[in-house]
């Protein structure tokens, strides 16, 4: 273990070795979000923009705390962290806060948190440790049962909240790690086929509003004033923005409240309306740059754990962006996924900073070799 002195010096060294372009991109995205929220709140900084900034600062603190942790310590406690996050999910039905017919939040020290946001990353952490530690030639059942269970438990817990969108992101994030870790592609084919076959069964378990959303996605004209309304208004906002947009704070769709949930899930639409195609394309580029940079950093790690963890975090982040933009542009059903760093929402901000803290930690400690442990 380190001495006190060592810790300070190593903290300084760590600060130096942080990849600042990546942090810079994150900060840029934060400012984009701040600008968007400033517009939505009609120039009132003290409503959403202020809280968004406070959350980002809190996120930065979490980021640096995670960055300064010893990677081996994180590796060592990976399952514990995962277990704790699952516990926080599991107690929601008993201690959770209900809002809009879904129970997703718990209150910790006066702050409402959405554990499912964190589970996305703790699952990656647990799976990274697991795939890092397994033997090459373990048997099928033995090798796949445990990761499948630790993936499906949180997915199940989140579905019952109910929160289909987050559950799907957790599932996809987990599966992406199965892929990265080199699971034979045949299993993916089998998996995809079996999921397709079980769709009719899964359909039974969806809540009515979830069924509505899926049906509306496939046929938006089915109910143009009900569920189709959100997606129609979103497309109108984007489409009416044109190439150059209507101008900052000039979006009629957003400022006249035609856009639903515009400070959270549909914030991209509002940006698209005010900044046009140029704005949305630029934003896509920033996200792409962040993702590519993340992948680049991830692949520099020497240990499998670090690679898995970094790539997993990157994948989850990508899925966020993809599902959100796909959703507001009408490519995907409306499932309620925020746009990372930009949407107004505390848990998602803190969770994504936690995730990038892990990624940065892996990058800083890219040369550390982690031994396999018994799992």
């Amino acid at each position: 273990m380190y001495s006190q002195n060592n810790m300070y010096s190593s903290a300084f060294a760590k600060l130096q070795s942080i990849n600042y372009p990546l942090l810079g991109l994150i900060i840029i995205l934060f400012f984009v979000g701040l600008a968007a929220l400033f517009s939505i709140s009609n120039g009132d900084f003290y409503s959403w923009p202020l809280k968004h900034s406070q959350r980002f600062i809190l996120g930065l603190i979490i980021f640096f705390i995670v960055v300064f942790f010893d990677l081996r310590l994180i590796f060592g406690y990976a399952y514990v962290i995962f277990f704790l996050s699952i516990i926080s999910l599991a107690i929601i039905p008993f201690f959770g806060i209900e809002s809009n017919g879904a129970t997703r939040w718990i209150n910790i020290a006066g702050i409402s948190l959405q554990p499912s946001e964190f589970v996305k990353y703790t699952l990656i952490l647990a799976l990274a440790k697991y795939f890092h530690s397994i033997d090459n030639d373990s048997g099928f059942i033995k090798t796949l049962t445990i990761p499948l269970i630790i993936t499906l438990v949180p997915v199940f817990l989140v579905i019952t909240q109910p929160d289909l969108g987050t559950a799907l992101i957790i599932l996809l994030g987990g599966i992406s790690l199965f892929w990265i870790s080199g699971l034979n592609y045949k299993y993916f084919i089998v998996g995809v086929l079996s999921v397709l076959c079980s769709l009719p069964v899964l359909w039974q378990y969806l809540k009515d509003y979830q069924k509505d959303r899926v049906l509306t996605f496939f046929n938006p004209e089915r109910d143009p004033l009900g569920n189709g309304y959100h997606i129609m208004q979103s497309k109108i906002a984007l489409g009416s923005g044109g190439i150059f947009g209507k101008g900052y704070m000039e979006g009629t769709q957003s400022h006249l409240n035609f856009l639903p949930e515009m400070q959270t899930d549909f914030i991209f639409t509002m940006l698209g309306e005010e900044f046009g195609f140029i704005g949305t394309l630029l934003l896509l580029f920033i996200y792409a740059a962040l993702i590519i940079n993340s992948i680049r950093l991830a692949l520099k790690s020497r240990s499998l754990f670090s690679k898995y963890l970094s790539l997993g975090v990157c994948n989850v982040f990508f899925i966020y962006v993809f599902v959100n933009i796909g959703m507001v542009t009408g490519l995907l059903p409306v499932v309620g996924v925020p746009l990372p760093f930009i949407s107004y929402g505390g848990s998602s901000m803190l969770a994504v900073m936690f995730g990038f803290g892990l990624l940065m930690n892996c990058y800083i400690n890219r040369n550390i070799i982690i031994e396999k442990t018994n799992y």
Binding site: G182, G239, F277
Partner: protein
């Protein structure tokens, strides 16, 4: 190394495998981002103009602006029909996702307000979806503010300030002025205001007759609205134009006096200026409060109005037709004078007049004078004064129906006085041709006799009688009857003389005798004083008196049921020295003219003489 397929994990070259898989994932991500970028390009560039239109349609809403209705003034410039602000609620189908839910929310918000959801739904679905449909017409301020506060729960529902018509004179003017109510289906095409379901149109009286003048022009505005339909700002506006003002020739004080005088009776009073044809009063009784039509009227109230045997909805001064009875005699006398009959010629009245009628057993048909024992020898003046029927039977027979009809028509009987009032009836002045055309049979001599005393086929309205008398009194100057001042007031009236003033003097004198000489039919109602009135009574039968009944002795009117009693009529003028006004009074089933109508006319003339109201126009400028 074994082949990869046998392993759960393809781990023979971990480092490479991860890189390769990560690369595949990266390519997939790049692909997904390209799709997103493509989608954005499609929405924001290719489909931009479509979505721009939709966005404008979202935020811009077209609203019509209700014009304020023109005000109706009386002769003195007193406002009679004005507009008051009212709080109303409308719904626009296009702007709500669920009409029924919005209405339901409104109903639970305003539990004390009667909202017939089914009726409104029917209305909403039968109209174009952008037309605002009125839900509540006249709301209290408390309820109105409640709606305003909860507007976000009431999609497509808008509270607004509208106008309601208010009639300052209430029931005394209701027949004449009429009332307004929502535009009916049949009026929709001709009335541009029908784009606003809350707009009203005149249904009767002056409100209907002059609706096109009073209604004004719709304004409209484009407004930017937010998602809950609340107006954010106005983009452009064309203001509505208030309807033009109308000034009546009616003096509302006089009209009220006439109406009050008729209270408890069923009948009408018309007052006309004999010099220029302006009607100063057109009262009808019983009446109704026109202000009840400003709110939606209950079925019960409506049923009561409709089924009332005194017919309060009918304007009895122009819409009810009566046989003129003896009030026709001055005109028959005039016809006789024009036919060369000397007014000095005396005829004998023994109480009845016989004419040959082969269809009867006796070979004669008997026509009775109202005075059973007869009047003896009477000349024209005496005949008018005592209203001798036998004199007029003989005169009528001598000059024939066509001459009588010609005179009556010349004086305006048998045709509408005001062409603009839809509910006005024209009456009937029968002649030979009329009977042939309308009844398909030849004119009988007996019918001439009946016509000579204003019975038979003769039908007139109260307004006609007053106009006819006015033209007789003003030395035969043809009048253009006036109820509403035109925008340009012409003080020049038609000066065409329609009778020889020499003859008219004889008739006027006879009418004077009838009221102011002892023995005259309206002597009891004469006015003692500087100014006097003169006039002719009339009693028109509403039933045929059978021979049997006549033999057994006539039943007194007061012993008959109300609806079988005779109508009492009176037409008069005054002051006798320099006539200014002509008045006609009809009391339905009032018994006799002298008993029921003449006293009322007397009171009205007294009012006119004593009050010396300035019946000069107090001009209203249309602003």
């Amino acid at each position: 190394m074994k082949k990869s397929g046998k392993f759960i994990f393809q781990k023979y070259d971990t480092e490479n495998l991860i890189n390769r898989r990560a690369a595949l994932v990266t390519i997939a991500k790049a692909g997904v981002f390209s799709v997103l970028a493509g989608r954005l390009a499609y929405l924001q560039i290719a489909e931009n103009s479509n979505y721009k239109k939709l966005s404008d349609k979202n935020r811009i809403t077209h609203r019509f602006l209700e014009p304020e209705r023109g005000i109706i003034f009386d002769l003195q410039g007193r406002p009679i029909a004005v507009n008051k602000q009212k709080y109303e609620i409308i719904i626009i189908k296009e702007e709500t996702r669920d009409v029924e839910r919005s209405l339901g929310n409104l109903k639970s918000l305003l539990p004390n307000v009667n909202i017939d959801i089914e009726k409104i739904l029917k209305e909403v679905n039968s109209r174009k979806k952008f037309i605002p449909i009125g839900i509540v017409d006249d709301l209290t301020w408390e309820d109105f503010s409640k709606v305003n506060v909860n507007i976000h729960k009431l999609e497509g529902i808008y509270p607004q300030i509208g106008f309601k018509r208010y009639y300052t004179q209430g029931e005394s003017h209701s027949h004449l002025i009429g009332y307004v109510s929502p535009i009916s289906k049949s009026e929709e095409e001709s009335n541009p205001l029908s784009k606003l379901s809350t707009a009203k149109a005149g249904k009767i009286g002056v409100e209907k007759a002059k609706d096109t003048i009073l209604r004004g022009k719709l304004g409209n505005k484009n407004i930017e609205v937010n998602a809950s339909g609340r107006e954010i700002r106005e983009l452009d506006r064309v203001n509505s134009v208030q309807g033009n003002y109308i000034q009546l020739t009616i003096d509302s004080e006089l009209q009220k006096f006439c109406y009050e005088r008729l209270k408890g009776l069923s009948g009408s009073v018309c007052v006309i200026n004999v010099k220029n044809g302006e009607f100063y009063a057109l009262a009808s009784s019983p009446s109704y409060d026109p202000n009840i039509f400003s709110k939606s009227i209950s079925n019960e109230t409506w049923e009561n109005l409709i089924s009332n045997k005194y017919k309060p909805l009918i304007n009895k001064s122009i819409s009810n037709q009566y046989p003129p009875g003896s009030t026709i005699k001055p005109f028959v006398a005039l016809a006789a004078l024009e036919s060369g009959v000397s007014h000095k010629e005396t005829l004998f009245c023994d109480g009845k007049h016989l004419i040959e009628d082969t269809s009867l057993d006796s070979g004669y048909k008997t026509f009775h004078c109202w005075k059973k024992e007869g009047h003896g020898n009477v000349d024209m003046t005496e005949a008018i004064k005592v209203s001798c029927d036998v004199y007029f039977y003989q005169i009528a027979r001598r000059i024939g129906i066509n001459k009588i009809a010609e005179i009556c028509k010349r004086y305006g009987l048998g045709e509408k006085v005001f062409n603009s009032l839809y509910e006005e009836k024209s009456g009937v002045v029968p002649n030979k041709q009329w009977k042939l055309e309308n009844l398909g049979s030849r004119w009988m001599v007996g019918e001439t006799l009946s016509a000579g005393i204003g019975q038979g086929y003769f039908l007139t309205t109260s307004a006609q009688l007053s106009l006819a008398l006015a033209q007789l009194i003003n030395n035969g100057k043809k009048l253009i009857p006036k109820l509403i001042y035109d925008n340009k007031i012409s003080s020049v009236y038609d000066e065409r003389i329609i009778a020889d003033p020499k003859y008219l003097k004889i008739i006027k004198n006879a009418l004077d005798e009838a009221t102011n000489a002892p023995g005259g039919t309206s002597y009891r109602s004469r006015i003692i004083g500087k100014y006097k009135m003169a006039g002719k009574t009339g009693t028109s039968q509403v039933r045929a008196i059978s021979i049997k009944e006549r033999e057994e002795g006539l039943i007194k009117n007061k012993d008959l049921p109300w609806e079988k009693r005779d109508h009492g009529l009176f037409i008069g003028y005054g002051p006798t020295t320099d006539p200014k006004y002509a008045v006609s009074v009809i009391v339905e089933h009032g018994g006799s003219g002298s008993g029921s109508a003449a006293p009322i006319a007397s009171d009205i003339f007294k009012y006119l003489f004593e009050k010396k109201i300035n019946l000069k126009r107090n001009e209203i400028f249309n602003v």
